[in-house]
């Protein structure tokens, strides 16, 4: 199968791109990815591409990269470690600059989730490591959503996950994306025998996963609030969230209602992709945002139990 990567894999080009990646392959069919027309790609496109290439290889498909000389953003793709993460080494005729405050190259989500969270949050909000620094709230929010989403990838997907992110300093947007090549949300519910999941669509399963205390793992290590609060924090910051899993898509934006739909052409994304955008200026008090997200999800009591806190 030859896949000509579209010129723009941005907000509007992402879903058609995912549909391309989800096309079924015959056994041992070779995949040729043609980069010659690619001009722009977001972290979501990069993370989804890497997760899919790794899946194809796992399924014994040969994957080749063509049109690289004609690709006008080859240097950017190299800086984002697209090829490196796919196991392809290319010569780099340039010097890498500091990525801090600008982007997070594609990175494999390993078991050191807390360390990964520190590295990535430090990259998105440089200086925020210091409590009291102006970037500390963005640092903490990024760390929270990264670690909770990465925990989901590791605990539920049964596949491999990848993360990437970018900061647009002019507009003040922070874009985060995590993609895995696992079984998808619906299958993870069905495999543990939740009766209510039998007749669900992928989109309905994503919506269900956002409800508090719904988890395919359960106690003692998983209480099913991670994705709920990630979505809640996105709402509190008036940000944007998209989750793609199987055929389903769920979007949260500044509109009051969340939106569900299917990928075009009955395509399937094999795994789960989580994409978030925050506006830096809306992340001013992380603890207040977390408190509001917990209240909104019904996870805080109206009258608290007698909890003893000491300074």
């Amino acid at each position: 199968m030859n896949i000509l990567l579209p010129a723009q894999i941005n907000a509007s080009g992402l879903l058609p791109f995912l549909a391309l990646l989800g096309k079924p392959l015959a056994a041992d069919e070779e995949v040729v990815l043609d980069f010659s027309e690619l001009r722009r790609v977001t972290p979501a496109g990069l993370a989804a591409l890497v997760a899919t290439v790794v899946r194809w290889r796992r399924e014994h498909h040969s994957v080749t990269f063509e049109g690289l000389k004609a690709c006008s953003i080859l240097g950017y793709l190299q800086r984002m470690d697209l090829f490196k993460t796919c196991g392809v080494e290319l010569r780099e005729p340039f010097q890498r600059h500091e990525a801090k405050g600008r982007f997070v190259p594609v990175r494999f989500i390993d078991h050191q989730v807390d360390t990964m969270g520190n590295d990535l949050a430090g990259c998105l909000a440089p200086g925020g490591e210091d409590y009291g620094h102006p970037m500390s709230h963005l640092y903490d929010l990024s760390w929270y959503v990264l670690t909770e989403t990465a925990n989901n990838v590791r605990q539920h997907s049964r596949g491999l996950g990848y993360v990437s992110a970018q900061v647009n300093r002019t507009e003040g947007f922070v874009r985060l994306a995590m993609a895995d090549n696992g079984c998808g949300i619906l299958k993870s519910f069905q495999d543990v025998g939740f009766k209510w999941s039998k007749r669900m669509t992928d989109a309905e399963a994503i919506r269900k996963a956002l409800e508090p205390t719904v988890s395919s793992k359960g106690s003692p290590t998983n209480e099913g609030v991670g994705l709920t609060l990630v979505a809640g924090l996105v709402r509190q910051t008036k940000g944007w969230l998209m989750i793609v899993s199987g055929q389903g898509i769920l979007q949260i934006s500044d509109e009051p209602r969340l939106k569900t739909m299917n990928l075009p052409e009955n395509a399937r994304y094999q795994g789960t992709l989580v994409v978030m955008t925050f506006r830096q200026q809306n992340v001013l008090d992380y603890a207040a945002l977390l408190h509001a997200a917990k209240i909104d999800a019904g996870l805080l009591p109206r009258a608290g139990e007698d909890i003893r806190f000491l300074p």
């Binding site: 989730v113 807390d114 969270g117 520190n118 409590y131 903490d140 760390w143 929270y144 670690t147 909770e148 990465a150 925990n151 205390t213 719904v214 988890s215 359960g218 106690s219 003692p220 290590t221 998983n222 209480e223 099913g224 609030v225 991670g226 609060l229 992380y286 603890a287 977390l290 408190h291 917990k294 996870l299 805080l300 009591p301 608290g304 139990e305 007698d306 909890i307 003893r308 806190f309 000491l310 300074p311």
Partner: protein, 103 residues
């Protein structure tokens, strides 16, 4: 004798792994609930945590020992976001003991 545990010394300043928290609760806190009059969980120096970690540690304790365990527990040195997470974990534990959660 009271039991005081420095979470920062044991896990560092960022707490993300619910599995580690559950293991710690079962091995280092639960055996002392009936023995010690007071259990102090010292979060001094902990910058951030996620719900997975705090729920596995705190909600699990309430689930095992009922809400009465709060009379023995003291949470020390918590910054505002850790306090939010502990409040929510306690609420989750209370709901679980009341059978209102089926996670």
């Amino acid at each position: 004798m009271n039991l005081e545990l420095s979470i920062r010394e044991l896990f560092g300043s960022h707490l993300a792994d619910g599995a580690k928290a559950a293991e710690f609760r079962m091995g280092r806190i639960e055996p002392y609930v009936e023995i010690c009059p007071q259990i102090i969980l010292d979060f001094t120096g902990v910058r951030n945590a996620n719900s997975s970690f705090i729920n596995a540690m705190v909600a699990g304790l309430i689930e095992q020992h009922s809400v009465k365990v709060l009379k023995k527990l003291v949470f020390k040195g918590c910054n505002p976001s850790i306090q939010v997470l502990i409040h929510a974990a306690v609420e989750l534990g209370v709901r679980k003991t009341a059978g209102r959660v089926n996670a």
